[in-house]
Amino acid sequence: DAGVTQSPTHLIKTRGQHVTLRCSPISGHKSVSWYQQVLGQGPQFIFQYYEKEERGRGNFPDRFSARQFPNYSSELNVNALLLGDSALYLCASSFSPQGSYNSPLHFGNGTRLTVT
């Protein structure tokens, strides 16, 4: 079975530009979460969507937005990119809403975003 897939794998953008990252969850998973991982740190929670509804949002500015589609895939959008947005963006999926024991998050390999 295919795991969580993310596209693109690498991306280079200029300050002020906009970026869209895409994620396809594991088949049957209805919950998708987005995390930002800056080099040398653990992942930080950005958003969670379950059944197309936003279930949680981390401490990120309004430049970050996301949505989930009827097929449970998801997009993360970041506007007005800053140098500090350079990071690995991870998507994770699970069968039930995040926070369920024995229903762990399964992560994709991420999109490496570099802002110059």
Partner: protein, 112 residues
């Protein structure tokens, strides 16, 4: 591949030895805890989780211990292998929320 993390605490062990990776958490309201393994260029991979009402849980070659009194979590890897080399993260789920809080990670290096 690109390094997952720089300047992380590092644990170096010889192949075949047991490894113990430690993690401190801060929130008493955490509902369960998870260990993830992250290899260079990849996303975190689930290893094992433990509910807050448990003290110990065993998996294949791995054991997680939870000490709620001192808010400490550990991951024990038996007979460490070169393929175990990676960065290991603990994560906690805060009760009644939908997000995981990750620690900063520990790099495990296995040498022959």
């Amino acid at each position: 591949g690109e390094s997952v993390g720089l300047h992380l605490p590092t644990l170096s062990v010889q192949e075949g030895d047991n490894s113990i990776i430690n993690c401190a958490y801060s929130n008493s309201a955490s509902d369960y805890f998870i260990w993830y393994k992250q290899e260079s260029g990849k996303g975190p991979q689930f290893i094992i989780d433990i509910r807050s009402n448990m003290d110990k849980r065993q998996g294949q070659r791995v054991t997680v211990l939870l000490n709620k009194t001192v808010k400490h979590l550990s991951l024990q890897i038996a007979a460490t292998q070169p393929g175990d080399s990676a960065v290991y993260f603990c994560a906690e789920n805060i009760r009644n929320t939908d997000k995981l809080i990750f620690g900063t990670g520990t790099r495990l290096q296995v040498f022959p």
